[in-house]
Amino acid sequence: MATPLKRVRGLGAAHRGTETFWRQRVTAVANIPLVIFLILSIVSHIGASYTEVKAYFAQPIVALLMLALVISAAIHMRIGLKEIIEDYVHGGAKVVAILLATFFAAGVGLACVVAILKISLGS
């Protein structure tokens, strides 16, 4: 007899169960304070000189929060974009679109990570 419990243990057809759902929620919760931090960082540096902005991001705590933001946001974005694609794109185009969304999220996220590390650790 296939009880709901048995199906849950098998984690469904994708073998991932609720993992993606949960990861989207975890990154969503993390993004709330991190996005507020980002907005405050930007607003407080409007019109600031290059040296001031660089010195700000070079602080370890700022670099840490920025790294947390771009990693959490990239994961959250990958899940969201994939969800949108799965609803509107079908067949082979879906696979290509999901691949592109994944590369976009990884590319943009990694570009930010390298930039933050270079600013904070020096060239």
Binding site: I32, M66, I84, A111
Partner: protein
Amino acid sequence: MGNAKSGAERPLSPHLQIYRPMLTMMMSIAHRISGAANAVGFLLLAWWLVAIAVGPEPYAQVSSFFGSLAGRTLLFLFSWSLLHHMLGGIRHLIWDTGTGLDKTSIEVFAWLTIISSIVLTVLVWVAGYALMGAF
């Protein structure tokens, strides 16, 4: 499922355009659109951070773009999209706990999201211009 080949004429559920547009439906669409728009905003953030990492010249270019009318418009829309998606997301997190799912709460949440996202966006920009010494 979308490409399942079957000649059988099966009944379809009504398409989206048959429904009268409703606030909650618009909010659901707005959450998706703002999420996708935030992906464009992420690109702007990457551009800004990379420019800071590379040096004063690229940074000056980014700054002059963000200072231009087009740049400011883009940033304004991004900030609104970001705040709208954040507030809409908080609404979803509340729903995840199983509360606020009755009709009245859903309507109230929708209006709260719209109004507070606009108010917060305006506040952020007023603060920004105030720090620039515009007032």
